[in-house]
Amino acid sequence: MAEFAMSGPAALSGRKMRNGVRGIFAAVLLSLLFIQPHNARADEDVFAGLATTQFNTIASSVDQIAQQGGPRALPVLRALADRKLFATREGDGLFIRTDSGWEDARSGASATPDEETLRPVRVNNRVRLAVAAAEAELELVSGTPAERQASAMLFYQRHDPAMLPAIDKALSKTDDVTLKNTLQDARAAALLSPGAPVSDAQAQQQAVAKLKAAGGLDARGVLAQASTSEALDPATRKAAEAAVSSIDFKLKLWGFGQDAFYGLSLGSVLLLAAMGLAITFGVMGVINMAHGELMMIGAYTTWLTQKAVLSVAPALGSFSLVLAIPAAFLVCGALGIVIERGLIRFLYGRPLETLLATWGLSLILQQVIRSLFGPTNVAVTTPPWLSGSFHLGGIEVTIDRLAIMIFAVVVMAGLMLVLRRTPLGLEMRAVTQNRRMAALMGIRTARVDALTFGLGSGIAGLAGVAVSQIDNVSPNLGQSYIIDSFLVVVFGGVGNLWGTLAAAATLGVGGKALEPLVGAVSGKILLLVLVILYIQRHPRGMFPLRGRGVES
């Protein structure tokens, strides 16, 4: 700061003074720039602050760059945010690293600095905030429509009164209804924030009404703060308080929908994890303790696919997940068939031995993966098209979770189709309902057993693909899902896919309904107690199989 106080307009960088003078100053500078866009004398070297090591100096330099505008402002700020901006260790040289080499930050001309003398410009959250605000300020004037909307949104979220002149200017220039609306929200929020210029009671109350109409967490934050702000009119404070409770009520109502979404999303993860087990355990009766490890291998297949795609065709990297789905199904399905032929077929009708053998197998699989890929997590990246969230009314829908829900439904439907509409499905049902009869009819039961187990294992692999997007991918991945999977299958009713669906949804929604009430730890305990009580009354689960074959 001290170095800066010496240098011309930057002396105004004291926050209060700047707030008042900033708009005029920016306007004057802009007009200067319009007349003489490349006049080096008119623009003070606002970039010099970036070459210091003090975070507050760098942040205020960023502010000044935004005020000054000019053709180099955006490239320099973006380089700073991407950590591509370097300063010389001595003096105040600034260079941007480009794909082909270096360019001088101030002029944009290509340069050949001595790399030994360069160090990256330091960035922390304070600087990042300043850069985001500065970028928004610049993009609001010169950006594409999408960038302008995003900038207006950022202004709204930041609600910094220092931005008021910029907001007003943008408001006067745009005819776009959505953008105008966001800007008006941003204006209202800024007017009610600490440090805003004194405004009359009417303007304040209009702002409160505007924010009340906007609703949402951002508006609530501004209003909650305004309701206790001494700088505002008492009537405004009261109105703000009323608006907060009105928004809270709406948020609470939406909260139920949000909890339902969380519950269904958790349910869909449980469903995916349990569906393969519903085949191997539910239909075939094999207590497969290695089910979780098949999921884990599915997740590792996703990781390997991603690595392979990135090394062969980096441009398609974000679509590797699509490739991973069949890959994981095939890998896990094949592994399942090998397990059935090599191990499980010798143990049919001996559940205890099966349990021990598959448990041993699960340890072996874990250790194999640990030896091959290491004990630490591997990073499966979430592609951009699966990142982020959108709002559905007051419900925030995260895209990765939504995708998993859809995926679970598609897999469930596919599985149903296979079981009901294909010859293989018919044979599977025949073999599980009456093995000897099916054999007498000429069905090769051994082959059907292998394929059924392979199908269940393949679906576990698909679950692994889904889980890799939201959880750790480590050799321990399977352990955290095996208990939940058995719980879902038993609770839903062994041998009944609809039961598995109902149980997954019930456990998911039930768990997420309990969590906000009693906390995550007690919620989980309570849910397990409820399930135990239910199973005691209904030992065959929610949808028990009926018929003559069941008893045997």
């Binding site: 960035v123 969380y262 958790l266 890929f373 499966v380 995260t398 969590e515």
Partner: protein, 440 residues
């Protein structure tokens, strides 16, 4: 890739004895030290949930043993590491500790990660008068004569981290969410932090505390609660004592719900370079961690340590982290003490430890204090997109570790001092009395 893992996992699989022999043979091959080897115990989980973190520390001790033997061993004798696997099983820790002390007669033990494992072995070390070097940051409120705590006490990590969040550079937070896994370390740390925040004028309504089970993987509800908590018009920060595997889904959910470090910064006490290795760190840029060491710190000692580590593991990508530095400091302090008294006698070594100084890896000095804690610098790092931390703040000099927190009413008058004449782990400075044998 594969040679590294197969070699490491071979070691893991092999019996403790054969691992020890391996180390012994390595030492002998360098062959300057002579005579009967001095045995040291390595008590880190090599299987189970904690293996992911503790295996690395076992490797560090084996590397340090190898380096020490190459330098001529200790007292002219070679060192031999006895590696046991307590398998993330807390009662087994006590059994294995007893085996190391009673059967293998080791001169000192380097081990434990979780506080519950340390609590499990504590009675064994006190009964058999062993020496334990504990290399992990912990919740404090303990001061045993037989343990040297080379990781951070709360005043060397948690308190400075919160100070940073309260400062202008840290965003000037006025509202705090304390989120943790449900066990002793987060609960004690959060109790201390709650009292500390109140002493800094933060109201009860502005502190939210939330615990989750081990391995929590569905963070949707809690992250949305955080979002709501952060919308009270005050700058909000999260202090995370979430442990181990639960961190990845937590950060992923933060990213999915669009919370960035500039909105609500998360200060983590258990996320280091090793944990970040399994994460896509782009959505995490700017999230914070408080440690006494970061791999990215540019000092000659750190550079050579990283190089030795890469050479030893034959993997140029292996990360280093804070507990590794604490193991390094503990090991070298023990070597110094043994060389100073010319013997591995436990009582002599314990008495010689206090006051010893060892250069740490970041350019400062670790000094053993009378309460068996050490002086450590505190760094705040921000996560970068390359999975490393960028140090944005540090204490001007090393902070002495405090065994007992002044922010917990029951312990505010307690100090630990194992030098004469006090010789007590829980000395009440008001009553001028030692509160007795129970120090933990």
């Amino acid at each position: 890739m594969s040679p590294r893992f197969s070699r490491r996992d071979f070691t893991k699989f092999s019996l403790a004895a054969s691992a020890a022999m391996l180390a012994g043979v390595r030492g002998a091959a360098a062959a300057t030290p002579k005579g009967e080897p001095i045995r040291i115990g390595v008590l880190h989980s090599l299987s189970g949930t904690m293996a992911i973190s503790e295996t690395t520390l076992k490797d560090v001790i084996l590397m340090l043993v190898e380096l020490q033997n190459r330098k001529g061993g200790v007292l002219g004798r070679p060192l031999e590491a006895v590696v046991v696997d307590p398998a993330s099983n807390w009662p087994l820790f006590a059994e294995k500790a007893r085996q190391l002390l009673a059967v293998d007669k080791v001169a000192s033990v380097f081990g434990c990660w979780t506080s519950v494992s340390r609590k499990s072995v504590l009675p064994v070390f006190e009964e058999l008068n062993g020496i334990l070097f504990y290399p992990v940051q912990y919740e404090g409120q303990e001061c045993s004569r037989n343990v040297f705590y080379t990781g951070a006490a709360p005043n060397q990590q948690a308190i400075p981290a919160v100070d940073y969040l309260l400062s202008a550079d840290g965003g000037g937070a006025k509202r705090f969410a304390l989120i943790g896994t449900d066990y002793v370390y987060p609960r004690t740390t959060n109790q201390i932090l709650q009292n500390y925040l109140k002493s800094k004028g933060i109201a009860d309504a502005d502190i939210m505390v939330n615990y989750t089970p081990f391995g929590q993987s569905d963070w949707q509800t809690i992250v949305s609660q955080l979002k709501a908590f952060g919308s009270a018009g005050k700058k909000t920060a999260v202090v995370s004592t979430i442990n181990g595997d639960a961190n990845v889904p937590f950060y992923k959910e933060l990213g999915a719900q669009g919370i960035s470090a500039t909105d609500i910064p998360v200060m983590a006490f258990s996320v280091g370079e090793e944990e970040l290795a399994g994460m896509d760190t782009k959505p995490l840029v700017g999230q914070l961690a408080a440690w006494n060491y970061f791999e990215s710190i540019d000092s000659p000692a750190n550079k050579s340590f990283i190089k030795e580590w890469h050479d030893y593991t034959k993997n140029p990508k292996r990360t280093t982290n804070d507990p590794m530095e604490a193991s390094y400091i503990g090991f070298n302090l023990w070597v110094q003490a043994v060389e100073k008294v010319g013997s591995t006698d436990h009582d002599k070594v314990i008495d010689a430890m206090v006051g010893l100084k060892q250069a740490n890896l970041t350019g400062g000095t670790a000094q053993v204090l009378p309460n068996h804690h050490i002086t450590k610098p505190v760094y705040i790092g921000e996560i970068q997109d390359d999975g490393q931390f960028n140090v944005v703040w540090q204490t001007p000099k090393e902070v002495p570790g405090m065994a007992w927190s002044p922010y917990v009413p029951e312990t505010k008058n307690l100090i630990g001092d194992w030098t004469r004449p006090v010789s007590c782990g829980n000395y009440d400075t008001v009553k001028k009395a030692c509160l007795g044998a129970k120090h933990g």
